[in-house]
């Protein structure tokens, strides 16, 4: 489903990696590992198509993501290290707006249910600027609850979460893998994802 070969990344004057490739099929999870500055986030941004690789190619369902364009983006869900939530809007409005912009159907009940799952019940009508850092992260993660697009690309999803939330998110990701989804993620914390095939890719 997702293949990359011979990827090269140059940031500024430095070559971060070259000749990098991987293959990922349905139900598989790719862990990107490496020290700070090894190019994990750069690789993620290449996979989602925001950063064109210096050399090499990434293919989704056999087609290069550059030419697949909107068809690829319709299959992609990206969670960056920024939360992509609006401080002025409430968690509920944030979820509804994000779904509308991504062309997904999300009913208000589904959104409320997602917020309840991430432990924000009772906070859904409070503007996000009054929430704590961890709670804002939870609003961002609530997007994943109803997310049925096959490819998840997650940049440090476990940052700023407490132990219970880390377990909950690991369950969510493994449920996604069991449905036949794919996931690519970076993390510094060792987290057990109970289901699916886990591949590792080390960047040095």
């Amino acid at each position: 489903m997702l293949e990359a070969d011979n990827l090269e990344c140059v940031r500024g004057e430095r070559r971060l990696f070259a000749g990098l490739g991987f293959k990922l099929g349905p139900g598989e999870l790719l862990y990107l590992k490496g020290r700070n500055g090894a190019g994990k986030t750069s690789l993620l941004r290449m996979i989602i198509g925001l950063l064109p690789p210096e050399a090499g190619e990434i293919r989704w369902k056999g087609e290069p993501i550059k030419s697949a364009g909107e068809a690829f983006r319709a299959d992609l869900c990206y969670l960056g290290h920024l939360n992509a939530i609006k401080e002025e809007l409430t968690p509920l409005e944030n979820l509804m707006a994000a779904a509308r912009l991504a062309d997904e159907t999300l009913s208000e009940d589904e959104a409320l249910d997602a917020l309840e799952q991430v432990g924000l019940a009772g906070r859904e009508d409070l503007a996000c600027k009054y929430l704590s850092q961890g709670q804002k992260r939870r609003v961002a993660l609530a997007r994943l609850v109803q997310e049925r697009r096959p490819l998840w690309v997650l940049d440090e999803p476990f940052v700023a979460l407490d132990v219970a939330a880390v377990d909950w998110l690991a369950q969510l990701i493994s449920a996604h893998l069991q449905r036949g989804g794919l996931a690519v993620m970076t993390t510094h914390q060792p987290v057990d994802i109970p289901a699916g095939t886990v591949r590792e890719l080390g960047l040095s």
């Binding site: 941004r45 989602i48 198509g49 925001l50 950063l51 064109p52 909107e70 068809a71 983006r73 319709a74 992609l76 990206y78 960056g80 290290h81 920024l82 939360n83 992509a84 939530i85 609006k86 401080e87 002025e88 809007l89 409005e93 707006a97 994000a98 509308r100 912009l101 991504a102 062309d103 503007a127």
Partner: protein, 222 residues
């Protein structure tokens, strides 16, 4: 296709309503700058009538500039711009929505308040109507052209000043024909020709500017 445009407009309008200080401050800037001229020049109706179109238009350009730096900067800072770029639509449509929303909260209020301010310059009713029409027709072009500048200077330090240097020269045609429409009406020549050209500029910039901005945004996101 149009769903994404309306979705972006609805979101941006909702955000603007939660942050009314931004709209109100640009509007008051416009009111104050325009009102300073009659006070400074003194009660000379002939001179004021002559100055009015230029003063109102220059103030409108500057008031539009005030809100431009934040057009994409807020979305860029909190990560929503990435999500917009990853939405399964052409980014140009998303930017079209943002430009329309920007006009609704910055250009439209200027057009609505302009006739009231025009009274200070002793403009005739006909001239006031043409002034309102010209600002209504011309300000969408300002939002469109401004979006290109805002996208090009996104993420730069001191981008605000650079943005003014980049965008204000491009506003000159709108200024000339906008002020010209009122001038021509006051002198009895009729401002229809100027208004048609303003309309043409608005349509051209609304068709072209979002795609140019989208290309600049993609570079900024790399």
């Amino acid at each position: 296709m149009l769903g994404v445009v309306t979705a972006v407009i609805a979101r941006d309008l909702k955000l603007a309503m939660r942050r009314q200080a931004d709209i109100v401050s640009a509007l008051f800037f416009f009111i104050i700058v325009v009102s300073l001229f009659p006070l400074g020049i003194g009660p000379e109706p002939d001179l004021l009538r002559k100055l009015a179109p230029g003063v109102l238009w220059v103030a409108a350009l500057l008031a539009t500039m005030l809100s431009l730096p934040r057009l994409f900067a807020d979305d860029h800072r909190d990560g929503t711009l990435e999500q917009l770029a990853l939405a399964p639509h052409p980014l140009g449509l998303v930017v079209t929505g943002k430009v329309i929303a920007h006009w609704l909260v910055s250009g439209l209020p200027l057009a609505l308040i302009a006739p009231v301010l025009g009274i200070q310059f002793d403009l005739s009713t006909e001239a006031l109507l043409v002034l309102t029409g010209a600002i209504l027709l011309g300000t969408p072009a300002l939002s469109g052209i401004g979006a290109i500048g805002a996208a090009l200077t996104l993420g730069l330090r001191g981008g605000g000043v650079l943005l003014s240097l980049l965008v204000l020269p491009l506003y000159i045609p709108v200024l000339i024909f906008g002020a010209g429409a009122v001038d021509a009406t006051v002198s009895g020549l009729g401002g229809e020709g100027h208004l048609s050209l303003l309309g043409a500029m608005t349509f051209a910039s609304l068709g072209f500017a979002p795609w140019a901005s989208a290309a600049a945004l993609k570079i900024a996101l790399e």
